[in-house]
Amino acid sequence: MLRYVLRRIVMLIAICFIISVGSFYLIHLLPGNITTVIEGPGASPENQAKLYKLLGLNKPIYQQYFVWIGNVLRGNLGTSFISQTSVASTIRAALPIDLEIMFLSQILAFATAIPIAMRSARKPDGWLDRTFSAGSFTLLSVPTFIVIVLMVLFISVKLGVPHTGPSSYVSFSQDWIGNLESLALPAVALAIGSFVVYYRVLRSDLIATLQEEFITMARSKGLSQRRIMWRHAFRPSSVALLGAAGVNIGGLLASGFVVQYLLNIPGLGYTLISAINMSDYLLVQGIVLVVSVGVVLINFIFDFIINIVDPRISRE
């Protein structure tokens, strides 16, 4: 187990290194003088000179990378020439919104997918199983942004439920109830997409697990149906579920970005899109870096949980 974790950590560091090189190089891919790219066309010569020195632009490119990564590791992602604020503080303000939306949507998705998949698997082809299998199959092909548009149309426009429409975002520190209300639609919309995946993966693994001999053995011990489902069938069936959840995070972030854009929620996605529109390349670079490392980290954590859930994996 320990060796497995160490191997994973080495891999994690390697991947983060590749990501950082990619994000670093992103800026160099843009046409024109880097100082103009970063500070905008109207930058003063002395500012340009300052930046030149800061980035070590007179040095070879690999040294420039080390100068840059040194700054990044100290939390300095540069200062945007457009807003004149530090990229790191802009990201720090926006990131919690993304995390909150993700957290809420995942809680909702797991809290519904797990019990429903359990009931489905207990009676495959029963009415509940048929309903959700067919329903989830249909939803599988509907992109999240369609779901959110339909929800906005129906819930905030047609039904007129307050605090749910575009531009109704309230921050958590201002009013936490209002904050939850304003994030309810995006959380539910993202949860639907996750639910569909989690439900299907868990259901089919549960059905396979329930055929196993050790389940018959558990029955023969005189354990209740409920206990057999939760204590014996669930854990060995949840490996693919956790794997799907880890993989799902990337897609979830992307859907979250679209939803933020549609509803004017000032999370990372919204910030990224406006940064692109305003050619705020340092901010784009910072967000790309943070998001990529975040996705990799989350995958790493899921991987770790899978190993705790199923000790057979790391033993191989």
């Binding site: 018959t216 029955r219 011990k221 005189g222 204590r231 057979r312």
Partner: protein
Amino acid sequence: MSFDNKKLLAVKDLATTFHTAGGDLPAVGGVSFDMESNQTIGIVGESGSGKTVLSRTIMGLQQRTNVTVTGSVLLSGFEMVGASEDEKRERWGTEVAMIFQDPMTSLNPVMKVGKQIDETLRVRLGMSKADAKARAIELLELVGIPSPQYRYDAYPGQLSGGMRQRVVIAISLACSPKLLLADEPTTGLDVTIQAQILNLLEELKERLEMSVILVTHDLGVVATRTSRIIVMYAGRIVEIGSTREVFAHHRMPYTRALLESSPKVSNASHTRLTTIPGRPPNLLKLTQGCSFAPRCSYATEKCHVDRPELEAADEPGHMFACWNPLPKTRRTVKK
């Protein structure tokens, strides 16, 4: 009937039919026998003869879909056939327990073996967490697992096949069942471990005053360990009697073929296994006749069209189903 009710187990006309895509498959086709307390009986037959289905049907473990069970299984007077899952659950573990054929698949791979023992103690006997753990360690010790405190925290994947089967036995003994159904408890294990496990079962049976049904395809396994033997073929009993009688005076040609094909436990690795020529019948296409007839050198016209019923042999309790039985002389089996 009141006499029957005192029996530990009374099986009557028990039949299990699977409804498969290819048609109805009578895996067990009308089996009757009974059993007193503190006995060990053996059920033998080639693989595919319906031993596992019979034991599971006796337990009442068959899934509800695509299977029909008829007849009767009286377990200490309680009818298991048609009983609800709740009623059966009350008896599982305490009245009757089962050891499954393959210790590699019958333990939960992601649960510590100790937990798999003590959950039974906690759920069924209402023990406290600490008591259950202590008792689970005792049970691990009872089944001969070295350093049980340490093994308590092992996952099944960290144990050898023999150790796993010991754990399975510990689980099945946890609630002191009156009847233990052991379905080929040693088939997947190597020969020395086989003998150890069988001896352990025998010893535990004496110590805990259980009754045991020992299911095997190997007559060598049951020779010294059982008082009675049931020989099965194609889902039916073809010969039944005291172990001594079945070995010395068997009348059914299939029993002889089985005896000649079984390796001795003591020298299994050196003995060439002679298999019975031909194959077991396709249960989807059973004929009206004796199902062994196509493979039997004594078979006559009658055997192919008319199925023999069990009839009494000389010794009380010894019965066989054959139109052309072997002569009544005492015989020794060539090895």
